[in-house]
Amino acid sequence: MEKQATVKVDGVDYEWDGNEGQTVLQFLTEIDSKVPSVCYHETLGAIETCDTCIVRVDGEMKRSCSTRVSKGMHIETTSKPVRSAQKEALDRIMANHELYCTVCDYNNGSCEVHNAVAMFGIEHQGIPFSSKKYEVDRSGSFYRYDPDQCILCGRCVEVCQDVQVNETLSIDWSRQQPRVIWDNDVPIDESSCVNCGQCSTVCPCNAMMEKGIEGEAGFMTNQKPSILRSMIELTKKAESGYGPLFAVSDTEAAMREDRIKKTKTVCTYCGVGCSFDVWTKDRQLLKIEPQPGAPANQISTCVKGKFGWDYVNSGERLTKPLIREGDAFIEANWDTALQKIADSMKQIKDQHGPDALSFIASSKGTNEESFVMQKFARQVIGTNNVDNCSRYCQTPATQGLFRTVGLGGDAGSIEDIASAQLVVLIGTNTAEAHPVIASRIKRSQKLFNQKLLVFDLREHEMARRADAFYRPKPGTDIVVLSAVTKYIIDQGWHDKAFIAAWVHHFENYYDSLSTFTLAYAEQESGIPEQSLKDIAKMIADAKTVSICWAMGVTQHQLGSDTSTAISNLLLATGNYRKPGAGAYPLRGHNNVQGCSDFGSIPNFFPGYELVTDEAVRNRYEQKWNVSLPKEIGKDNHEMIEAIHEGTIKGMFIYGEDTGVVDANLNHVNAAFEKLDLLVVQDLFLTRTAQYADVVLPACSSLEKEGTFTNTERRIQRLYQAMEPLAHTKADWEIITLLASKLGFAWGYESPEQIMEEAASLSPLFAGVSYERLQGYDSLQWPVAADGTDTPLLYEEGFGFDDGKARFYPLTYNKMYDTNETYDLHVNNGRILEHFHEGNMTYKSIGITRKTPQVFLEVSPELAKERDLEEGARVKLISHTGEATVEVHITDRVKGKELYLPLNDNDQGRINLLTNSNVDKDTNTPAYKETAVRMEVLRKKGKSPLPRNNHRHGVPNPQIGVRVQDKWERKDYVFPGEKVK
């Protein structure tokens, strides 16, 4: 714009910055001119169903939410015809919605229908309310739909179709009386709804409401339906006119603030790092309320984050320290339990040296807890035997990135994945494992022309949606990636300028690719040459490529090499250092990233500084006043071996069910039995805790403060929503107490002090402080001392001293295949609704009634061959153990591949089958290389997947709410027309 333009609003000139995308509604909001806007939502944009935002633009009545501002525009917002049109629109809403605010659970100050009517100053209803004559649908687990309260704004449909992209909800505009329907009009519980809960999050009123808050929010809302009905009638009579009604209901809403606490927290399930407000009444959890300002997820959630919190108040929570005596645990007080641990540790250390002790930190715990765990191991005990569960999943990805680009984290943010021209998913079941990131990709693909390329064994949801989907043989991704990279370079499609400026070792690397011909790749992976060429073209043609990967890549013997191959490909095509591009290992737990970042790994201090680096060690020695061990410690895998060998005698684990999640469980459990001391800190008496000598009751994330770091390297604060359950303590507090029993008085009174210490020691986090992380503020590391963070890595150069990246040459030898004895490949991984071993999610009644148990996915072909039907019971036998599970037949899997979700802590545990093979570079178990044979115990039976599981639903995809269908109805007249 050369000049500032002006726009006239109600006769007054305002400056307009020339932003042509800006809508009239946004402009009016900016200049603080109030126009009602009920269906508009800042995340969803213009939906155009409610008509309340009508204004006159250059003489013509228009919806301000969908009209763009232009130079010299005249806007009227208060003239009589405009006000009448707005009133007409509001009247139509009121005809669809009964106002009984004082006895409504949604009357918490944020009801947008209430607020719009109050702001406009309507006193009396123009069109009387009339019932839609549909029953309330409360069939689902977590939310209910009341058609009589529904104003048909369509926000829920927009969010379901185009934000979550589960495509379940629509409004059937063709009926005499329109309403929201599920799939092709089935009850909520029988639909394809995955209970992400976003419809209830965006609903402007009480039509779509979380069941957890029903009858709980108000002082007078918990009544028998008959009394509630009478009270609604009475409220309406006594409060004639909306003014007095609002006076009473606003007062009541204000009173509610007194007893409903709203606390910002960060989700404790996967690595997406969703943050939101949690509403509590003492210990009772009323609802999760996502906020548009949340950096990773905005308003999005999945079923676990929105509804999966029952475990916090589960009756199975541990509430007393337990000490093993003979064949039972005896309850003890904290002092006795901690003293016993301290004595035992001291004895082991004195007798066998500090390296006879080992420590496993939790990727569910906070950064501060990881920091004190490694500090305890290194300073108090004097060993580097400290590791965390990223060893089970993502260490190979980190390794691949360290080799090539120098920093072990996602190259950019979720925003970059969403804005990439091409997203490539390799070995990630994103829609189930990282649902909110998957939704961003699904949305970009559906609405913004993003291309999606998927490699997986299984045709999961992302594979079904992909523009191109390929099924390489297990463990051969590295061949495909290398061959595609070679072909791109052979064709001259690589980014020569980028390589020249930024990457070392090109020649050497290119030479190393010589064996990866297309023919060889076809032979190894099963993907035809032509397809490989198509893949190469697709990648080379895209201006920005983001590659996401997960356990399907890392949990192989060549996990680190395959991760490296991904990064090589990105370097060759210049897909780093720009928005929309880069490497995105999708971290599995809420704090997998942070637990490693803050030093609970055997070779690194916090911030990935080597324990073997003397200068670094000196820095810590000075601060901690001890001399620190110089040798790299043992990782999880080596710890188990060392227990078997007899060199490790004691183990301390917090927040990790190693006895379920480690590979080759029979071997791991045998190790536990050999320990002189096993201490487990957890919420529950887990499988692992059952082997312990001392069990300490920890508290949940809602009961403590701290920070988590998500997959985007984003550090976010969680606040305490409730007091710890009686006699439980936060992990950081327990470890601090234990340190003082062993003579180290750290003096931490809050996690903030721990973070201050970490920031003062580790340059990667120099500028991290609680003050900079207030509320929804977050920081993506590296964070400079002045607080500048780094959403996009490598803009200033790569993570090596010279700022240059490196190509890393690779070779390939086939490591794994099925054989005659073990003829089936058992793939394994997550499902959406359960998490990990299920210790948390199986406590949710709402989840468990729809997904009560683990199930084995069997292909229709294999079922036919083995004469199996749905619900059959089979025993899987590998060379390490056996598991028994029930069968679900689905074409998501093909041929002789099986899929066993990992969410079981009993006879169906996948790790009864996995073996001790590991990634050759990082010792991450090769969970995904498991061959079994199958014995049929029962040919058919009841399906392990109940009828009301969302996988049986039939979605109804469309774009948005299809407001055109509303406008085409015979009985629809644009309110702007009506008043003319």
Partner: protein
């Protein structure tokens, strides 16, 4: 040689111990808040003397019945007018000009004082007296005001 176990032997405090612990906690609270508590006891005594505590206890115990009865009753047709009137009066109050009403009521009071004084004399008033009286500025002001008021009353209500 630790086998997995799940049995937990709860160390339960004896009833006596628990009772003692609770008593101790309570005593501390009592001591900390003695002044307020004394007032509360006094209030309770007054309420109890008046029989109010018994009523309250029964009412709270039967709160659901009470609420049901009240809402049911209040929802009956014959109260509709009452409820409407209630809010109607509220609006009426809002429309009154309190300042004018105060002036007017002041004058009415003065008038009443005069009336009471006048009623004590046994004078009779003839037409001539009336005409004469109009010359009295106070009476004249009074009559004029009443005429204006009559005029106001007779005005068509504004649409």
């Amino acid at each position: 040689m630790a086998k997995p176990i799940t049995m937990i032997k709860r160390v339960t405090m004896s009833k006596e111990e628990m009772k003692l612990q609770k008593q101790e906690r309570l005593e501390n609270k009592l001591a900390e808040n003695s002044e307020s508590l004394e007032k509360v006891v006094e209030l309770m005594k007054v309420l109890d003397d008046a029989g109010a505590l018994d009523i309250l206890v029964s009412l709270v115990r039967h709160r659901d019945d009470a609420l049901e009865n009240i809402t049911k009753e209040a929802n009956k047709e014959r109260y509709a007018k009452v409820l409407e009137n209630l809010s109607g009066f509220l609006f009426l109050l809002g429309e009154l000009d309190v300042e004018k009403v105060t002036t007017l009521t002041g004058r009415i009071n003065k008038g009443m004082e005069g009336a009471i004084q006048g009623s004590e004399t046994e004078e009779r008033t003839s037409v001539l007296d009336l005409a004469k009286a109009l010359k009295d500025p106070e009476i004249n002001r009074g009559i004029t005001m009443m005429l204006h008021m009559l005029k106001g009353l007779g005005k068509q209500p504004e649409k």
